[in-house]
């Protein structure tokens, strides 16, 4: 019997124009938690897809318990007891928890479902591992945390003993993350082997036994977590020394630039308000962060502020002008910039060139048009200038179709466009989602620079680390309401986590509006 339950030896997987996995070796011991660390695009997902049978490698072999196996599709992977919790859950929204767990491995008798036995097994697993779920609840009605537990139960129900977790903590509160870590440790103690994909270093330090680092498709090395530290891992991941601390001058808050009073945003389908009586201010020269778990009204708040959604009541001021009835363009012209949370849906016209995207917010201004005709020479001059200033990299410069650009550079283009409008107020939503460390550093610097330039910045992010390191003040949103205001310097993840999960709230809010 081999020491390793799974060995991926010298795996190479190529895509047109790129080697996603270049001779990577990954060995998973029985009963260990093995972290797979790397930036976006480092090849983590590809490697896991190879293990899961979604891709066939050009070369290399996979061994299970020392024997070479061929994994042609996810069914093969299942037979080898390999299970995976995907980053985006694969659940049927309108099915119950139980139905989702048994989906694909249902027991039937004369063509009828036999759920009794399944229910018993699910409940047994649920109690044994402390994975609390309501088997009869619809997926669409339960929290993200519980959905993740359903995914985990799915693996357990299939008797999987090699469990892959793909960025499992992205959607959880700090407290839920602690719980998940404990569950993972329990699994490991039971002899199950865990592959834990992440780019968060502190989680690796907290829970993993060993870690394999990938960078740009190559395996950089495998280390014992006990023998390493965060700085070393970061350097291995990025290829250079990384500075995690954002250098910020003290906040010099000026006059209020964005004022929100008693804002209410409804939801067409539900009676519950998405944003409920929210009031706050953002001053010139300060960054106000909004922390919260996904789906607690942050998106709707931003839509209402930017004009994408009509508020039910309440008022919004840019400077001292009421704008809640103004169109999106009027707000833009008054100095509101918006880095949207979904860069593909809102931020870019992907089939337009980079130059065309860079003028998306101001093409109608005299600078770019002459009696209705676009001034292409001006457009290209402007675009070249931004590309140079913001270091946007692309295959063919201004003429590159943005669809073909990397996510980091797409985001840089949006940041460049929004900041070059010289806004009074910048609303940045998830500005670094899915970007690598280099791009994150860069965009954070730009946001801080905007604040030092006396702009008002409202930062909405699901990444607590991001909110904590950038914000001068932090507001926490829970179920459509602002439940706490915390000073950016003194806030702790634990404290914010309690507010974010609704376990705690400030009775007396010092939010003056």
């Amino acid at each position: 019997m081999s020491e390793y339950v799974i060995e991926m030896l010298n795996i190479t997987k190529k895509f047109p124009g790129i080697i996603a996995n270049d001779d990577i070796t990954l060995q998973l011991k029985k009963g260990e938690i093995h972290a797979l660390l790397g930036e976006n695009g480092a090849g983590k997902s590809t490697l896991m897809s190879v293990l899961f049978g979604l891709y066939q490698p050009e070369s290399g072999e996979i061994k299970k318990d020392g024997e070479v196996v061929k994994i042609n599709d996810p069914n093969d992977a299942n037979r080898l007891h390999i299970g995976m919790v995907h980053q985006h859950f694969k659940l049927v929204e309108i099915f119950t928890v139980l139905d989702n767990i048994i989906l694909g491995v249902e027991q039937t008798k004369n063509g009828f479902l036999q759920k009794k036995e399944a229910r018993r097994k699910v409940m047994e697993l649920s109690t044994k591992y402390g994975l609390q779920v309501d088997p009869d609840a619809m997926i669409e009605e339960i929290s993200v945390g519980m959905q993740q537990r359903v995914e985990i139960l799915k693996m357990l129900y299939r008797d999987n003993d090699i469990l892959i977790f793909d960025e499992p903590t992205a959607v959880l509160t700090p407290q839920e993350i602690d719980e998940l870590m404990q569950i993972m440790r329990n699994f490991a103690n039971e002899g199950k082997s865990i592959l834990f994909i992440t780019h968060k270093l502190n989680e690796i330090m907290a829970v993993a036994d060993r870690v394999t680092v990938l960078r740009k498709g190559k395996g950089i090395g495998t280390l014992n977590v006990a023998d390493t530290n965060v700085d070393q891992l970061a350097e291995m991941m990025v290829g250079r020394k990384v500075n995690f601390n954002i250098d910020k001058a003290p906040c010099k808050a000026g006059a209020p630039a964005l004022t929100v009073r008693n804002l209410v945003v409804g939801d067409k389908r539900h009676l519950k308000k998405k944003v409920n009586d929210v009031s706050f201010r953002v001053h010139r020269g300060e960054i106000v962060g909004i922390a919260g778990i996904d789906g607690n009204g942050q998106s709707e708040l931003v839509y209402a502020l930017t004009g994408l959604m009509k508020p039910e009541s309440g008022s919004i001021f840019i400077g001292d002008k009421e704008v809640s009835r103004n169109t999106i363009r009027e707000r833009n012209d008054m100095g509101l910039s918006h880095i949207p949370e979904d860069r593909h849906k809102y931020g870019l016209v992907l089939d337009y060139t980079l130059a065309e995207n860079l003028i998306l917010k101001n093409y109608y201004r005299p600078q770019f048009q002459n009696h209705g005709f676009l001034r292409f020479d001006e457009m290209y001059r402007y675009s070249e200038d931004l590309i140079h200033r913001y270091d946007i990299r692309s295959g063919q410069g201004s003429a590159t179709v943005t669809r073909s650009m990397s996510g980091g550079n797409q985001q840089k283009a949006i940041v460049a466009r929004e900041l070059s409008l010289q806004p009074e107020v910048l609303i940045a939503v998830q500005p670094t989602r899915g970007l690598d460390v280099g791009a994150i550093e860069y965009i954070h610097k730009q946001i801080v620079a905007a604040r030092d330039d006396q702009k008002a910045v409202l930062l909405v992010s699901l990444e607590l680390d991001e909110v904590m390191s950038l914000s001068d003040r932090i507001l926490v949103m829970y179920e459509g309401e602002i439940v706490a205001e915390v000073d950016g310097k003194s806030a702790t993840a634990h404290e914010l986590g309690l507010y974010m999960s609704g376990a705690n709230r400030q009775t007396h809010m010092e939010v003056e509006a």
Binding site: T306, R329, N332, G347, V349, G372, S398
Partner: protein
Amino acid sequence: MKNRRNRTGIINGTASLISIILGLLFGLLLLFIFNPSFAITGFDNLMTTGIASSEKLAKVFYQSAPLLMTGLAVAFAFKTGLFNIGATGQYTLGAFFALVGVVQFRLPWWMGLALAMIGGALLGSIPGICKALFNVNEVITSIMFNWIALFAVNLSINNMPLMLANAWGAINKDRTAALTSGKFMAYNPNATIPKAGLDQLFGSNYINLGVVIAILIAVVIWVVMNRTTFGYELKACGYNRHASNYAGIDAKRNIILSMTISGALAGIGGGLYYLSGTAQYTLVKSLLGMGFNGIPVALLASSNPIGTIFSALFISYIQVGGDALQPEYSREIIDIIIATIIYLSAFALLMRGWIGKLFIRNQTENINAEDDQPSENEAKLVKKEETLK
């Protein structure tokens, strides 16, 4: 910049050519199946009749004008992300407005064309308004308005004695007045589009300035689409409505405008055809094919206004060739061949993907490693492909 334009141009052009060639080969196969002894001569006729004589060439140009307009109409809407399947209705109403202008009001032809434009625009705006304000699918509304337009026009013409051919000395009353009959010429000599000597050049009565007007309009549309802020907005809405909305572009206004302009283009097509003097509107109970043929014209041209000129000429060319297949083959066979090409032109979209990928594969070596990460979409595409396998 130029590079990219050229590249997409080449990709689109190649894809269209491949679908045309495959369609024609299929046509040849059909000719062999139905009547082997005439297949080769028949195919020869199909391919060469259009340029066999200046008279036939004149007919190619003559028919291509309205086709080009309906093709432009469809292409214009496509660029804004809308499918105007109501071109035939807008074309019919345009024809009606034009005829009413020159017959009832004795207006000159160019006023007739202007009326045709208004008629088409009116009908086109309705699906646009429904889509923008009530989010009703424009395909459904425009299909329904095809029939509404057809029967409203038939009913109106039936009740306008002056419009019918029998008012002008002909015996039949199932069609509109012949604008070139002696009696009508005396009534309104300026009703038909001028020939400007083209008839003498080609030795054919069919040709007039219509095709020139249509080509000029195609060029104007190209300029609007590619050079103006208005075109920039329309395309942005077509590519990504959410992003245009986010950028403060009034998507609703643009949907209405786009459908209105699209309708106007189809309407002009109706005017161009029925003000030629060689065509009479016939009261039938089926929708006019000219409107629907705009769809393949647009598809074959990948919605490029300039490309539309060539695809309209091509479709018109094989239609004229198809007429020469008779009597050995029935008239319908050319419809089948055209339908095949049309069908394949839908595949042209797919082929564009394949050809495009060939290009990408050849080019990747030139791109430096820094920018080499495939975009999410490309990755998705690869993933999809892999799962298909």
